[in-house]
């Protein structure tokens, strides 16, 4: 019986490795799931991109759910996500706030002017400090925040039509059903 142990051990190991291959084909191996799901969003106060004298804060946004989409003019994947947002952002049923991350405001404005602006409003975080409180570590990332200011869903990486249909929209619908 003891002689069979190494073989059994190997079978378990092979199972784990096989799982690894399968898991990798359906998941982004570098994605780090957020610990802030179902926790309150950080209390942010950030200036608008178009009018820095005006600020947008978490308190101001309470009362209805909304999306925050983290993007930047230097971010290649955001360029890939952008057409999807342009096409679908109005169909989400909730406001979409653009979150300009570690970007030069002039570059960001030029980028939006060139590619189009799918957002209801755009806020800017040139230093990236507030983004750390959100657990942002790159762009693009998308957060769904409910009417009480709690983060309910996070997408790491670009939004695709599949992800929107299978994950984002159902999450938004669930929120709508919760609090009329």
């Amino acid at each position: 019986m003891g002689r069979l142990l190494p073989f059994i051990g190997f079978v378990l190991l092979a199972g784990l490795l096989g799982f690894g291959i399968w898991w990798n084909s359906s998941h982004d191996p570098t994605a780090v799931p957020s610990p802030l799901i179902n926790k309150p969003a950080p209390a942010f106060v950030l200036p608008r991109l178009d009018n820095p004298a005006q600020t947008v804060s978490k308190d101001a946004m309470l009362g209805k759910p909304y999306l925050i989409n983290v993007f930047a003019s230097w971010c290649f994947a955001c360029g890939e996500e952008h057409p999807v947002l342009m096409a679908e952002s109005k169909t989400f049923g909730v406001p979409v706030i653009g979150y300009d991350y570690k970007d030069d405001p002039a570059d960001a404005k030029a980028w939006l002017a060139q590619h189009g602006n799918p957002y209801d409003l755009v806020i800017a975080d040139p230093s990236g400090h507030t983004a750390i409180d959100f657990g942002v570590y790159g762009a693009p990332e998308t957060f769904l925040i409910d009417s009480k200011g709690v983060i309910r869903y996070k997408r790491i990486g670009p939004l695709t039509p599949d992800v929107i249909a299978q994950q984002l929209k159902p999450a938004i619908d669930a929120l709508q059903k919760e609090a009329p």
């Binding site: 002689r3 092979a14 690894g20 998941h27 191996p29």
Partner: protein
């Protein structure tokens, strides 16, 4: 035209490998001498075609044949010829071809230097090596062909990753593979023994030199990789417990256990099943390492491009080879303990304890490396396992080994008398304590450094005492047989390594500084004087080069030239400046200019002093040397006179 010849050569090699796998094993089973005799020529033929394919790939690189996809991806017109050769194994497809080439090198060597092996046994050994070769050749031809064409042919290629354009990187993969792949010989011997069923210990004697040599190569390869990482990557470190580093370390640890277990089985006939199992483990871990690096399931700086198809193929291959061998072990391993008995205080016990620690260490490294994957599988969340984990548990597990090491040569087989052991304990112990106290005075209470000195002296004095004992007791010419000399060298290497690790880890000083030209920073007792930057060029790069003059107490020590290179395709690479020394390294890395528009003004620099860091690699090289010297012992190659006499008597009796 020529790349297709390479592909053809590989196909022919595969066919020969299939012949080499199936026919001799069939012949050994059936006692058919003609089939068994296929082994050597098939192996030689396969080697010729694999070498041809490899040569064709090298040729394609040397002659800038960008119509071959692999060449275009990994070289360009500016790449110097020596790095074009290194580029052959710089990415996945080529490195697999190198793997198979080296497998053939070992196979041919075995076929040549195996006159004393019984025919049936050799047929089985070569057959098993043939199976492994078949698997890898099939893998190359079906999923990783280096000869694929790129049409239309581009005017210039991409580049070899600048990080790989370094002598260490040229050297590291071939030597590492010699080690990895070399364990296949011990593996094949063990399978042949399991298949053959007769458990005479003689086969272990034949396996020992091959195993020692493979382990020595692996030691060298790991040292080369660590050295390259230190010299090239700009972080001043030499080991990160990165998954791919661990993938090479696990077989090394099991290899240490195996070398010692083989000694026990050869000389005393005991622990036969355990020795066989370790041989299977060592090569299985080599294969596992090959899998981990290419499957993409672990995040690592080192990982080759991942592809689930390739990962699945290798996993399947692993299942057949490793699973099959372990199943064979379960069915055929010796069930009755054989060989001579041994007492609690004996060399066998010490080796057994050492084996335990090395095996648990390998298991610990595997657990830590794979735990993040386990976390995903069991939904435990995303967890990282890094140097704090390995760096705590590994020394703890090695502590018993270090404590036992001086006693090793003094312990007798079977049963040992304690007086001589007590003597060693006292002498080595006092020496260690004395040096520890002395060290404490110099390093201002740094515990790690003191522990390092104590443990190194403990081990080193133990080795020295035994060297003196043999000198006194034995006549010239019989004092240090090669096997023993190798053992002493390797154990001395442990002492050297301990100094290197413990002192450099505890006494290194690192500082990030902002310096304008003319400023001086003091680090670790040395004054680093920044003299601004100049511009310089190389064969395929341009660089900003800093000039740093180092003095100590006013006396000049070195002028160092850290660089930031920009390669052909805009890849930026930091080339750190290292001033090597026996008692310390000085290390300077150039950061960013404070103002990118004014590179003649202030710069950020990272300055290091690293005491005794070279002793780490020196220790590793001593271990390597020990492995090679041991392997060279004539005793392993010559049939024992007693055995020969027995054969004669048996023949006479039959007649």
């Amino acid at each position: 035209m020529t790349p297709e010849l390479g592909q053809l050569a590989l196909i022919l090699a595969l066919l020969l490998a299939i012949a080499q796998s199936t026919l001799p094993l069939l012949g050994a089973w059936r006692g058919n001498r003609a089939l068994m005799a296929v082994a050597r020529p098939a192996a030689s033929g396969q080697a010729v075609f694999v070498a041809l394919a490899f040569a064709i790939l090298v040729w394609a690189f040397l002659h800038f044949d960008f119509s071959v996809q692999y060449v275009a991806d990994n070289s360009n017109l500016q790449l110097p010829w020596y790095y074009r050769i290194a580029a052959v194994w710089g990415a996945h497809e080529g490195s697999m071809l190198l793997w198979v080439l080296i497998l053939n090198v070992w196979t041919v060597a075995l076929a040549l230097f195996s006159r004393q092996l019984p025919e049936v046994f050799l047929a089985r050994v070569l057959g098993v090596l043939g199976i492994i070769s078949t698997g890898f050749l099939a893998f190359i031809l079906f999923t990783s062909n280096p000869f694929g064409r790129l049409l239309p042919m581009p005017p210039d290629g991409a580049d070899l990753n600048p990080v790989l354009q370094d002598p260490g990187m040229t050297f590291h993969p071939p030597v590492l593979y010699m080690g990895y792949v070399g364990f296949s010989v011990a593996f094949a011997f063990s399978i042949a023994a399991l298949l053959g069923g007769s458990m005479e210990q003689a086969w272990v004697r034949w396996a020992r030199p091959w195993t020692n040599a493979a382990w020595a190569f692996l030691s060298c390869g790991i040292v080369a990789g660590s050295w390259w990482s230190y010299a090239e990557l700009g972080w001043g470190g030499w080991w990160f417990w990165d998954p791919v580093e661990n993938a090479s370390f696990m077989p090394w640890l099991v290899g240490v256990a195996l070398i010692h277990a083989q000694a026990v089985t050869e000389k005393r006939g005991s622990l036969r099943a355990w020795t066989i199992l370790l041989s299977l483990f060592a090569f299985s871990l080599s294969l596992l390492g090959t899998f981990l690096v290419r499957s993409g399931i672990l995040t690592s700086v080192h990982a080759f491009a991942s592809d689930p198809r390739r990962g699945t193929f290798i996993l399947g291959f692993l299942a057949v080879v490793v699973g099959g061998s372990l199943l064979l072990y379960a069915l055929r391993a010796p069930k009755v303990a054989g060989g001579k008995a041994f007492a609690l205080v004996s060399r066998e016990s010490a080796i057994l304890i050492g084996n335990l620690m090395f095996t648990v260490a390998a298991a610990m490294v595997m657990l830590g490396t794979l735990f993040p994957l386990l976390g995903d599988a069991l939904n435990l969340g995303k967890i990282s396992v890094g140097p704090p984990y390995f760096g705590l548990l590994f020394p703890l597990l090695m502590l018993p080994v270090i404590l036992l090491l001086p006693f090793g040569p003094y312990l007798r087989w079977g049963k040992s008398d304690t007086p001589v052991l007590k003597q060693v304990l006292v002498r080595a112990g006092i020496a260690a304590l004395a040096c520890a106290l002395l060290a404490a005075f110099f390093v201002q209470g740094q515990l790690k450094a003191i522990a390092g000195v104590a443990s190194a002296v403990w081990v080193g004095v133990g080795v020295a005492l035994y060297i003196v004992k043999r000198w006194r007791e034995m006549p010239r010419g019989r004092r240090y047989p090669a096997e023993m000399a190798g053992m002493l060298l390797a154990h001395a290497g442990v002492a050297v390594f301990l100094i290197g690790v413990m002192l450099s880890e505890s006494l290194s000083v690192t500082r990030d500084v902002r310096m304008t030209p003319g400023q001086v920073a003091t680090v670790g007792g040395y004054q680093f004087h920044f003299d601004g930057v100049t511009q310089t060029t190389g064969p395929n790069w341009q660089a900003v080069q800093g000039v740093v003059t180092v003095t100590r107490n006013g006396a000049p020590v070195a002028v160092m030239h850290p660089q930031k290179r920009t390669y052909v395709h805009e890849q930026v690479q930091t080339e750190s400046a290292v001033d090597p020394g026996i008692t310390r390294d000085l290390y300077v890395a150039l950061g960013e200019p404070m103002d990118p528009n004014h590179v003649e003004r202030a710069w950020a620099l990272r300055l290091y002093t690293k005491p005794f860091i070279r002793w780490i690699w020196a220790g590793g090289l001593f271990m390597m040397l020990g492995g090679f010297v041991s392997a060279a012992d004539r005793r392993f190659r010559v049939k024992r006179e007693a055995e020969a006499a027995q054969t004669i008597t048996a023949t006479v009796q039959e007649a």
